[in-house]
Symmetry: C2
Subunit: 232 residues, 2 copies
DNA sequence: GTTGTTCCTTGACTTAAGTCAAATATAAAT
DNA sequence: ATTTATATTTGACTTAAGTCAAGGAACAAC
């Protein structure tokens, strides 16, 4: 029972379920299953039946698709307390993309049938899910915008600013994803990332250290991201 | 009252609200407002407050974003009974993109506050909305995949097949959107569309008439869309 | 340390697709 | 029909970014 209690407390602390009455958190706890995935292990693959969704407790997960020739487009890189696979629970039968652990990751799993049942009895939970999906939609919209409206330096600048904003606006950005992953997220290749980061350094927009990047001219980066300025 | 009755019947026929109890359709009818938009008129612009969402009764609407230098990325082109602006109702405060009537369009509008209220009292309505948002998410996922994993001929092939499938798999596709719009949707420019359609004709994948396109080699197109084959 | 592995950088080359500009074609208006 | 406007096609040119291939770091294991 100790383990169940832990899950319930954990659930209550997840933004998605915030403000739910205690007894519903308990119901959630009862249908939730804790799982651990090793680095590189797949949660699910594109086309699999959508049997439920996950919420990350710790670790890092990438959601992506592969093209016929093996190129990979990453849609999201997700961390603590972020859910994934949730769209498949409501829409179609299958997961539209694949999900893989980038590092050892622990997550809780909510099986579809029981969760849908719960939703039906609890409108405010439904409202939370609606807000969540809307947010995802917004994030994806941003990605589409980036991919088609901006060239790579702009996308990269936007991503650096995103990372910076997420880390409390501290001047230095930890590069906890490989340039390979970065490239996949930005719809390009690692070589291009390298070259652009170099140009950004030359133009004194950023300073590079081994495992991190410092933003020197945030305005300049923002201009790049807006497509206002371009890189020499 | 006649007008209200019409709206209620209309609402009951919309997939999004299918299977709802009559009294809820009536409630929806009471908060719904019918509006008409001229060709070129804006429903809302990116950044506007998300005051509600629309469902198309007749006409055609494009949802898009503009870059700093005026390039336009179209996210969806929507027709009868399709909703738009719904994400803004739940997520943030603002519409993430703009919506404009491509032809004279009539729609019903649901104001946010009253709709949210309704959702809270009716879980199965919430479930419909969840499914809808998931579907949107899926469509966008596809767009991202197209934009980054495939080159333009592949995207165009995928789009032609999409149009074909939508129109009951009839051999000929009506080009009811300009090549300009098409280009915007596929993240490219009209010139490129022209050239690729020409090459597709030369390779006997399609046959072009003035206002329509016939698919000759569907398999060939599908191969292009999958990225299996390439255009000479 | 030294070895092996993985990741990152750099260079030379190629190419898809964008820009600019001009010529046609189609549709709309009088 | 003739004119006007709008869309489409075509050509010549440019360029961002991809491919291929070779060196260099960084890191882990022994």
């Amino acid at each position: 029972m100790v383990k169940v209690m832990n899950i319930i407390q954990t659930i209550a602390s997840i933004p998605l379920f915030e403000g739910l009455p205690d007894n519903y958190c308990e119901s959630l706890g009862l249908i939730a299953v804790r799982k651990t995935y090793a680095r590189g292990q797949m949660f699910f693959s594109e086309g699999d039946d959508g049997i439920g969704f996950y919420i990350i407790l710790s670790g890092k997960v990438k959601v992506f698709k592969l093209s016929a020739d093996g190129k990979e487009q990453i849609f999201h890189i997700l961390e603590d307390k972020e859910p994934f696979g949730e769209a498949a629970v409501f829409a179609g039968e299958h997961y539209p993309a694949s999900a893989q652990a980038l590092v050892e990751t622990s997550a809780i799993f909510f099986p579809r049938p029981k969760f849908v049942e719960l939703i039906l009895s609890q409108p405010s939970l439904a409202l939370s899910m609606l807000a969540l999906l809307s947010l995802r939609l917004r994030k994806l919209t941003l990605l589409v915008e980036n991919l088609s409206l901006k060239e790579v330096p702009g996308r990269l600048a936007a991503y650096l600013i995103f990372l910076n904003d997420r880390n409390n606006h501290s001047k230095s950005i930890e590069l906890d994803v490989s340039k390979n992953q970065m490239a996949g997220l930005l719809g390009t290749i690692p070589e291009t990332i390298s070259r652009i980061l170099k140009r950004m350094s030359e133009e004194k927009l950023i300073k590079m250290s081994t495992r991190s990047i410092s933003i020197i001219d945030k305005k300049g980066l923002a201009d790049l991201a807006e497509g206002v300025r371009r890189l020499a």
